[in-house]
Symmetry: C2
Subunit: 351 residues, 2 copies
């Protein structure tokens, strides 16, 4: 494995792209060269990678000539158009958008859970949705021991999942509130979903809509959690349902997760399994008021789990509180971990 890779980052100026560059800096992946790609508008800007100043180039099909690995996070439309181009040029694509996730020929991977699925890749690997990834990291160690029948999750999601402009909007609204400006005069242009018709305040509010609604009155975000869980865990029989809510947090998604396992499990055992699990940090001691908190998960790559307790009535029912930085394990860190797993499994090549 004396290979060394040319790695392209597509969407290098975005909230996730910025984190991808940082994650690559920290990565064990042998990197020969990093190429930063973005829209024409951002071309010419510079970013630093391991002390070297790199100029951002405009994304075109030819950008992928000589690229071994391309990490995409520039929206589904860009992935749809350019990921196949990258593959044609011989690059393996790790795509952070939802565009290819449910394509049966595309592995959908959380390395701690289903790295084995990478073996079947045909050039494109999809990175799951942020809210799905952290739930998978927390639940897989439990599922391996006692199975998993059912998940009911309510999320508390950070605005950074909606991009840099949403963060800015939250800050502007928070200042408006502190200035005692009436809420109907706040700037509200982005949330709950940039592409939807109406926009609502997020500062000092909770919005039970992430992404747009589907025909069954669930949102796309909710259905992503449902469908991606089944694909990643390779089990269509798991019952999954979600309520996805945006709250005024900048970084770090929190999740209130109820599960039913095949066999009842003791809390002490679950704590032990999670202590030993890859990518998990157990923070669970009510006597010390120790539990995961979004604000302290920021800039961490792990998934934090606490508030583990038995259901009060159902013997195989359990409740957990799961927190992770949505831009890192939820996006950039998971994408780079997929790239590292591809390298370790000698799969950085288009079949």
């Amino acid at each position: 494995m004396s290979k060394s890779y040319t790695v392209a980052v597509v969407g290098a100026t975005g909230a996730v792209g910025t984190q991808m560059i940082q994650m690559l800096e920290l990565s064990t992946l042998p990197i020969k060269e990093v190429i930063l790609l973005a829209s024409k508008r951002s071309a010419g800007q510079t970013r630093t990678f391991r002390g070297e100043e790199l100029t951002i180039q405009e994304l075109v099909a030819e950008s992928f000539s000589g690229v071994d690995l391309a990490l995409f996070s520039a929206g589904g439309g860009i992935s749809k158009q350019f990921a196949p181009e990258a593959v044609k040029h011989g690059a393996v694509v790790v795509d952070n958008t939802s565009f290819f996730r449910m394509d049966p020929t595309v592995p959908l991977v959380v390395p701690e859970v289903n790295a084995h699925a990478l073996s079947a890749h045909q050039g494109i690997i999809a990175n799951p949705n942020c809210s799905t990834i952290q739930m998978m990291v927390a639940l897989e160690p439990i599922r391996q021991q006692v199975g998993l029948k059912r998940i009911i999750v309510s999320t508390y999601q950070a605005v950074s999942g909606a991009g840099a402009r949403a963060i800015e909007e939250l800050k502007i609204q928070a200042q408006s509130y502190l200035n005692e400006e009436p809420v109907d005069q706040w700037q509200t242009e982005i949330l709950p979903s940039g592409g939807d018709k109406k926009h609502y305040p997020i500062a000092f509010n909770a919005l039970p809509q992430i992404d747009v609604f589907t025909d069954n009155d669930y949102t796309y975000e909710e259905m992503k959690m449902v469908n991606e869980t089944k694909k990643i865990m390779e089990d269509d029989t798991i019952q999954v349902v979600a309520t996805c809510v945006r709250i005024p947090v900048v970084q770090g998604h929190s999740e209130s997760v109820y599960i039913e396992t095949d066999v009842p499990a003791d809390v002490a055992d679950i704590r032990q399994w999670l202590t030993n699990a890859p990518g998990v940090v157990l923070q669970d001691d009510p006597s010390q008021q120790l539990y995961p908190q979004a604000i302290f998960s920021a800039d961490q790559t792990e998934t934090f789990v606490g508030r583990i307790r038995k259901d009060l009535d159902v013997a195989n029912g359990l409740h957990l509180w799961v927190v992770s930085d949505n831009l890192l394990k939820g996006a950039a860190a998971n994408s780079v971990q997929i790239a590292e797993a591809l390298h370790e499994m000698d799969l950085v090549r288009v079949p």
Copy 2:
């Protein structure tokens, strides 16, 4: 019913007490006189009631002489000490603290659900916990039609539930964040629970602890929702479990509620039942992005319900999003509604 009452407000300067005075101003209750009581520290301050300036008096046992109705919201310790004194002096007490709620001789009342329980009062009536009340208002109309087996609720609770100082702390922390002060230098003295050992930031965070922890690793807030639901609905067989979370919202608790009914119900029917239900405002039209939002529930006395949808797997499973102003329907408005019901049922007397 040509009676007219002398009404005492105990804890008149607090977040809830302030709202109680406003709710009494708007009330249909025939009021002869209002007496405002608080600690020695607040005595001498004035408040306006229907254009009249009232001086706050120090709370002592003799304060209740000539009082017909006393609304308490000054902490459990004050209720423990002074509610029996009020009753001795002939006043009927509506207590907003948790102190008497699970006392089998004390009715625990949400007027829309179990006003009939008032008939058995022996001088003290308890107002349920804020997070319980709004859930009861939303679920009772459904339970009456198709029964109720099970509730799993995750809450998104406002800081005003922790009092005026918690609101101030949120604002100070929000400004600290906007000033880019490091989080370890923020003022954190109140939340998650004033009486607990450790305090954490709430601005741009989510805290999965409200009140202190009990021996079973649930918090008191969570166990209140469990035990109070069974008492109010007069059914110990209902399975209830809660995860209670504080989020950076000033007014308005939101709840992600999953229920299983005895008999499956159509969403269209549920919408109709809730449209006709007392105290409920249906806000449920995904095509118009219409759903309840905490920030718009502020200063409203109703409970707002939306995001109603069938579970994806369980035929009798349903999900709802329930929002209400925690200081109003969750506290002051419900207390005054209890007083109004007592008047209408001719029960404003100590038996």
